[in-house]
Symmetry: C2
């Protein structure tokens, strides 16, 4: 049977795509970067989905792949290419030699080459000889993207390495090397694979010069151990936290078909996975009605605020630079979730374009999230309570020191929460003993955690009862007391502004600003208003870097909370397709908005930006507690009642009293027939 | 053994308090309203706690009660009294005859008297005769506080009744009567217990006059049934949601002593319960250090925005008017939480001051909240994951149509989340068939859910490493690019402003405004900065009513996000002690701020206001999905590392694959010795 247009490429399809490209580039060496599903044009997929949802057999669409690769010819200078190939037809549909002004996303082998180049570098060796590590310590070089080029720099392809010392005396390879930051950064020219420079870092505090001044030959002697693996904790892990298990004796409530189609509690959608965005949800329907065409985490940028050289370059684009999917963890039962888990596998490619299995990159499970709704009838005392069950599609990425946990959470009442959790180890640099800094917080002796921001962007491609939608700004505004409309001053007015052409806007809590993604042609029969899904732009701080800085110029998406654009095939990335070493956002949301299209009752895309200004606290060390953000999408006049009003309201028989008893609240009114205890009866 | 100063009154103590008061008022009738613990002065309790935490036997404090009651003398006019009595010494400490400008909080018997008065009223009977209810329908009168007096109204004690029709044909007393709103409101003079007026309600829509104009003799014929109890649902509850159980085979990780002292994962605190605030937490310590003296939900106001008479008066103060504790549900095993639950009981009093048991008014349980922290070492591929366990102290209140779920959630990493969930049934009024309104949304035929706000206030009485604290505003501000401090534009500065005298302030996301409650005398040895607990003021809309309106004047607390005041014994209520029928907030946060005290390195109180502008959607009907808000308090440089770094990181053995298997992620790296799966190994 033909694969569904949203199914990710199989290993076999990946190989076919590779072979097509290899044949088209004879007599050259091809360095493969990424091969993944190229989604067919929306116009084609729409037809497919219409047939599918009508219960017909859709006409299969040819399978397409995006193949990203370097062509290395006689001059040994790699040219970065992108080809879209039709796997089914065995031919190339599109080919682009990407201009030298753009850089391909980095790959893991490139990161490895930085470490190898450091090992071979005489320049680096000489630098290292100026410093003495404590006995038993070894160098660790952590590869990083080079960041945005600063004014005046050549636009070559560079990588940089952050350096640390690891205490090897415990013979534990997971001893935390981040506690011992070294004050230099080697920089590699990726073309020649040579270390061209070793930047020295200032280690001063408040009122010290911004340039590195004095040389400290023993830079980590004042640093201290701070471990997180259990066997290295001074007192071991705590022992008084008793097990809490989630059991589902009848199994999960979801079904998964074709490794991609998920059905659960009225929800029906496809999951795919690609190297750039990680897990993507497609074609979300709830109770038989279309809600979203595509939901994805589009971009994230992490700019650092340390004013000293070279930290203005310390700014990752964690989706564009290397790819969230590339960095996805292989998840593990009983570690990343509780209960009954379904894992999704994916396929990655090596430098020869050969597929490799990437097991368990996405997990799916149900979880309880407290009370969904409750009402007690004050006349009878009868309480009816339903619980809030969520279906979670989760993936977790590791980017050197940091991790992010991304989750789409669908609930039984038609709600969608899109969650980010930031955790991992904050990025630290060396600071002299006893000093404090305006650039961050000392979280461990000698380790300054630099202030930074994490700014995320979620791409919402809605299909609210169909593809023609209008985004409407809805505000609740005060009204001055007046005889005619507000004689007692308690009235406030709701003002709705449809977004007729592409634009950005910001959160405004003083106006209770909400974005409703409406379908003006589909009217709720109860309220008489257009059906919609709504969200409040997340009220978090936007990018702080000066507007004229490279940091700001390459992250225009991070400067407004909401962008509304007209859909165009292939426009998936908030900061543009090429972020590695970018100096200005190109092809991102700002460029999309600049096109003066019609976005009223059209196929639109809504982008939601939010983030975290992270001025580290000591408690973030050595591994930081999750910082959680949630974008909440809710149906608003989409249904004719609470779609979870039919949730089960019977009591959970597995719950126990703390004394071990399994029944009996003291007034004996428990449980049967939907009666959940009692309120005191007001009218009794 | 003597009771702890924070333990709520026992039934025996309640009776003693009653008897003391009865003896002091001979030859009169006493109508008892409330009897509950009067906390001893903080100065006395501090000494007690110092001894307790030093491991000494503290000198017992005399037990005190607040007794609220009406004295009804020969003239039959009740005078509202408040007495503080020393139960231990058997004497009165303080007595106040409360002035007629203030009204006592309402009691459940007063609500009952409204229903009785309506039944007896000829005036109401005549009103009712103008209307015809459908066959099989019966009148329901729902008692409400009268709300803020409008200009020109006598300051008598009134109650009002919202009227509905209930379909009795199902013979089910829980058939949802809110679907059939009737267009009149009887008003009772509480002193005479007579209906003095029946207000007629306009039922028009957009562009209709604000006054009731035409008489519809069959006002609910166009309304329709909308049920929520499972046996009345047309198709019954859904059957495909399989059970999800939380089991704790080794029991809970907490212990509870004296029905009040809770210890769990380093946390140690007392729980009490009173009629006004519900559950209160006292003397919170974490890992042996003081964090908070007292945490409470202080007030909530729910103003409605319908400009028509008499809805400007529709504004509940759910803590001050009747008391959150008074309205607390008796909770029930397996309904309100999952897992192993400990319930706390309380005592309420009847009109004769006699104690009655109020079982299960507060529940305590542990819950999982996803990943606490995770890091994967990219060099070895080893992932270490800890889960986020929370301890939840919860109570749930029913106020006529609405319910609120309040929870204090303490986590294993020193964090405190204070959560509100709004649910229940939105308040509706009758609207003519086919019309829409600017005052709300039609959520069921003939039922207009009026726009309104819910504005909460949490009282934080901190004791961060002791009672002398300073609240500091911390902001992250952009810095213009400049050669000296910000040569590349990436730097932002952190500006700290200590609050030296009482004031209010608002959330400001553009500044990433955070409040740090610091102890300037306790310096973190790692960072060199004062220890603190911090929170971000919640970025939600404040009160919308015109500043000159009664709604706004009686809810000054609802007009700013944060209030910082100096502690004074007895000042617990954000909108003041007397809110019922108030026309101006008195003795609330605004008055506290007006005192020009010193709040730097002093015993301070911080009040956090937040809320929800609730413009109902059809999905809120018939019972609304929870709207959740969380105030997040976090240690910031309070500890010398992540206090949860020692959380267990072993895998959960009860989790299962969706195919039923209990082990085996596909790469076989599961579980032993703190190893949680793998990331792809970058350096492999």
């Amino acid at each position: 049977m033909a694969r569904h247009p949203f199914e990710q490429l199989s290993a076999q399809e990946t190989e076919k795509a590779r072979d097509i490209v290899l044949k088209l580039h004879p007599n050259t060496h091809i360095f493969f970067r990424y091969i993944f599903l190229e989604e067919a044009p929306k116009s084609e997929i729409k037809k497919y989905l219409e047939a599918e949802h009508a219960g017909k057999t859709p006409e299969a669409l040819n399978r397409r792949a995006m193949v990203m690769y370097d062509v290395i010819g006689d001059d040994k200078i790699p040219y970065y290419n992108e080809s879209v190939v039709d796997i089914t037809a065995g031919k190339r549909l599109d080919h682009k030699v990407v201009g030298k002004e753009f850089h391909a996303s980095l790959t893991v082998p490139e990161f490895r080459s930085l470490v190898e180049a450091v090992e071979k570098s005489q320049m680096f060796k000489e630098c290292l000889e100026e410093y003495k590590l404590p006995e038993g310590f070894e160098l660790v070089v952590e590869p990083w993207p080079y960041g945005g080029l600063l004014p005046g720099e050549d636009n070559k392809r560079y990588f940089q390495g952050l350096c640390f010392a690891q205490d090897t005396r415990s013979k534990n390879p997971d001893s935390n090397f981040y506690s011992f930051p070294l004050p230099f950064i080697p920089v590699m020219d990726a073309t020649t694979q040579e270390i061209i420079r070793v930047d020295r870092l200032a280690t001063g505090g408040k009122d010290d010069p911004m340039e590195p001044t004095k040389h400290n030959p023993r830079p980590v002697d004042h640093c201290t151990t701070s471990e997180y693996v259990p066997e290295l904790l001074p007192n071991g892990p705590r022992k008084d936290l008793k097990p809490l298990n989630v059991t589902q004796p009848e199994g999960p409530s979801f079904t998964v078909t074709d490794n991609s189609l998920v059905e659960w509690q009225g929800w029906r959608f496809r999951v795919s996975f690609n190297p750039r965005e990680g897990a993507v949800l497609h074609d979300l329907h709830f109770k038989g009605r279309s809600v979203m065409y595509r939901l994805s985490f589009s971009e994230m940028t992490v700019p650092y605020s340390d004013a000293r050289y070279p930290f203005a370059r310390k700014q990752a684009f964690d989706f564009g630079d290397g790819g969230a999917g590339t960095c996805a963890n292989n998840l593990s039962l009983g570690c990343d979730c509780l209960g009954v888990i379904k894992y999704f596998d994916s396929v990655v490619t090596d430098t020869e374009g050969k597929p490799e299995a990437a097991p368990n990159v996405v997990c799916l499970h149900e979880q309880d999230n407290g009370i969904a709704w409750k009402h007690t009838n004050w006349r009878t005392g009868r309480a009816v309570v339903a619980r809030n069950r969520e279906l979670v599609v989760q993936f977790i990425i590791t980017l050197a020191n940091y991790e992010y946990i991304f989750a789409y959470k669908l609930d039984t009442m038609g709600g969608i929460n899109i969650e980010t959790r930031a955790t991992g180890i904050v990025s630290v640099v060396n600071i002299d003993p006893g000093k404090q800094s305006d650039y961050g917080n000392v979280v461990s002796e000698g380790a300054l955690a630099q202030n930074h921001q994490h700014i995320f962007c979620i791409r919402i491609d809605p299909a609210v009862d169909g593809h023609k939608n209008t985004a409407v700004i809805e505000e609740s505004l005060p009204v001055k007391m007046n005889e005619k409309t507000n004689p007692r001053g308690n009235y406030y007015e709701i003002v709705k502004t449809p977004i007729k052409s592409p634009r950005w806007l910001d959160a405004d809590i003083t106006k209770n600003r909400v974005i409703k993604i409406t379908n003006p042609s589909s009217i709720n029969p109860i309220s008489g208003r257009p059906v919609s899904y709504k969200f409040a732009p997340m009220a978090t701080q936007l990018l702080l870097a000066d507007q004229d800085s490279v940091q700001a110029q390459r992250a225009l998406f991070a400067q407004h909370h909401v962008w509304v654009t007209k859909h165009m095939d292939g426009e998936l990335y908030a900061a543009g397709r090429y972020t590695l070493q970018s100096t200005r956002e190109q092809g991102g949301v700002a460029d999309m908005v600049a096109r003066k299209e019609d976005t009223e009752n059209e196929d639109i895309v809504v982008w939601a930006t939010f983030g975290l200004t992270h001025n580290p606290r000591v408690e973030d060390w050595p591994v930081m507690p999750v910082e959680i953000h949630e974008l909440k999408l809710r149906p608003a006049d989409f249904f004719t009642e609470n779609p979870g009003i039919d949730l089960p309201t019977n009591r959970n028989e597995a719950s126990r009293l703390a004394n071990g008893d399994s029944c009996c609240d003291t007034n004996g009114t428990n449980g049967t027939n939907g009666t959940n205890g009692q309120a005191r009866n007001f009218m009794g």
